[in-house]
């Protein structure tokens, strides 16, 4: 089975993000970068599936040369090879989806797995755009029924159920009010929720091996994609701060305040 996954470079989720005083962006000093946590889950799921259905996991990322770090991270986890779309200018979701469409058409995977959103833009769009433009089935917000403490998770059982003939995939989707199980014909696009799996750590031999795994370089021009953004951020602001509250000494004071001051009881 051949699976295409993505590895976006994002700020470490533990970083404190601050807006620049002039509102043109965020303060970059001191920030650390990581693979988007949702993409890491997508990579993990792909590795588990390929352990069951031998084939390859191809990881793609769009950005300047620094995104090779995130590609190497996925390679160290066990991905087979990488595709780097070299682009340093601004990008929006449509541009990235159009580039991934070209990569998918070139690679012809059985399945594309992406994170459901990236933790910088929080847009939650690219998988859906990609599925539509490819004309493929989509299953967003894939999650696992069993808890992370379960044997299934400990034994790295894939949460996505691919049929023995690799023609369909069953996905449990987290939706409002319950869980929906859908079956998609392959090839399909799946987006990963946080509760799909717990990604492995890259092993030392994995990290060593990743250094010699191939990274193919492509460009938007070479792929024939115009990535001029159709979405531009015109201004950034800090969110309104919540007024600092107080500490109460005991339950009695808390209940009294809730009743007479906040009037919520």
């Amino acid at each position: 089975m051949k699976i295409l996954v993505t590895a976006k470079r994002v700020e470490d989720p533990e970083s404190k993000i601050k807006v620049k005083p002039d509102g043109t962006g965020i303060v970059l000093e001191g920030l650390k970068y990581k693979i988007n946590p949702f993409d890491e889950i997508a990579v993990e799921e792909a590795l588990r599936l390929v352990a069951k259905f031998p084939g390859e996991v191809v990881v793609a990322s769009v950005g300047g040369k620094e995104v090779q770090e995130q590609l190497r991270h996925a390679l160290a986890m066990g991905a087979t090879r990488a595709v780097w779309v070299n682009h340093t200018g601004p990008l929006d979701q449509m541009g990235i989806a159009a580039l991934l469409q070209k990569v998918a058409e070139k690679e012809k995977p059985d399945l594309v797995i992406l994170g459901k959103q990236s933790i910088d833009d929080d847009q939650n769009q690219i998988g859906q755009y990609l599925a539509e433009w490819l004309g493929w089935a989509q299953a967003t917000f894939a999650s696992k029924v069993e808890s992370f403490e379960s044997d299934a998770e400990k034994n790295k059982v894939p949460a996505l159920t691919v049929s023995a003939d690799v023609k369909t995939v069953r996905v449990v989707r987290e939706v409002d009010g319950g869980l929906a199980t859908v079956e998609c014909q392959l090839p399909a696009v799946v987006t990963a929720d946080l509760r799909l799996n717990m990604p492995r750590y890259a092993s030392l031999p994995g990290i060593m091996k990743a250094k010699s795994k191939p990274i193919e370089e492509l460009t938007p021009v070479g792929l024939g994609v115009d990535v001029t953004p159709k979405l531009t951020v015109t201004k950034m602001m800090a969110p309104p701060a919540r007024k600092a509250g107080i500490k109460v000494p005991d339950v009695a004071t808390l209940v009294q305040k809730l009743k007479t001051e906040a009037k919520v009881l």
Binding site: Q93, D121, A131, D176, G178, C184, T234, G245
Partner: protein, 320 residues
């Protein structure tokens, strides 16, 4: 005159999802800013009743699209049908609530319309063609204004940021026949997570537990029931399998804005705070006086939750 089209959502049980009313009032606000007419679309196997309900909230037209092939919601089936409608109406803006369905459907619809999209919109700024969408980025650490430059613009709105639409002058209902293509996805099963408690997204009071509960939600649930509250949770509590995943509050879970939010044994990671800082009153109970949750709490109580919870329930009972 420009057109704003809001996509309504029918729940699996056939009822209108309440978040649609929040999307409708966002649609009204946008229509006013850009001088547009407000239209609503609803698609499903049989949506006549829902369409009749929708028309009472003041849209100009409700487009009611019933088709046997739309019995179960599938993005692949709904997106083309809605794209055809939006194109025939020459809709300039197409929006919906950022529910699970809205998040799944609207980007696919946008792709079909070759439209750029803003997700989880909090508000609109500017007038006419210069209108921008405000939306959160980086788990709400940044509020951005974004401009979309495609002819059609697609968006989802965060339901907690807009009041539910009030009844208004009745609009007209127009039935149309959506063209339903064969799709490559089928619904195998919908497992409803039933709870006797109020729905987390709509509850006036939310009692949420984290890793500090060590998996014992009994006292917390008893407190929730005393308050008629919904139960919520942090990611740590969901990942451990202590509570169903759909109770997760935060950047990647549900965004809630109840009148009262009580965070119990939750440290207050930014990803959690992103989902509850719009609550009117926040109470935090945590044994660590330095826990970041206290920075957003109106009332903080430092203490052991296993001791505090029974006392709190008794005191609330007595105060009522």
């Amino acid at each position: 005159m420009p057109t704003v089209l809001i996509v309504a959502e029918q729940q699996p049980d056939g009822h209108l999802r309440k978040a649609t009313l929040n999307a409708l009032s966002a649609g009204k606000a946008l229509a006013q800013k850009v001088g547009a007419e407000l239209h609503v679309a609803v698609l499903g196997k049989d949506v006549a009743k829902v369409a009749d309900e929708l028309k009472t909230y003041g849209p100009k037209v409700v487009h009611s699209g019933s088709a046997a092939g739309l019995e179960h919601y599938i993005a692949e089936a709904h997106a083309p049908a809605l794209a055809d409608l939006a194109t025939s109406l020459k809709a300039d803006y197409v929006g919906a609530a950022a529910t699970a369905q809205g998040k799944d459907l609207m980007p696919r619809l946008a792709a079909r319309l070759k439209a750029a999209m803003a997700s989880e919109v909090l508000g609109f700024e500017g007038q006419g063609a210069d209108v921008t969408f405000t939306r959160p980025m980086w788990a709400g650490n940044v509020i951005a204004s974004v401009k979309l430059t495609t002819p059609v613009k697609v968006f989802t709105v965060r339901p907690t940021e807009f009041n539910a639409a009030e009844p208004g002058p009745a609009g007209e209902v127009t039935a149309f026949s959506p063209k339903v293509d064969a799709v490559k996805t089928k619904l195998i099963e919908f497992k409803e997570v039933k709870s006797a408690r109020p729905d987390l997204s709509e509850a006036k009071v939310v009692v949420a537990g984290g890793r500090g509960t060590k998996g014992d939600f009994k006292e917390l649930e008893a407190l929730a029931d005393e308050l008629g509250a919904a139960v919520g949770a942090s990611r740590a509590a969901c990942d451990a399998g202590w509570v169903p995943n759909d109770l997760q509050v935060g950047q990647t879970g549900k965004v809630v804005a109840p009148t009262l939010y009580i965070a119990i044994g939750i440290s207050g990671a930014i990803q959690h705070i992103a989902g509850m800082k719009g609550s009117r009153v926040i109470v935090a109970i945590n044994k660590d006086a330095e826990a970041p949750i206290f920075q957003v709490a109106d009332y903080g109580l430092v203490g052991d939750l296993f001791k505090v919870l029974p006392e709190l329930r008794a005191a609330i009972k007595a105060a009522k």
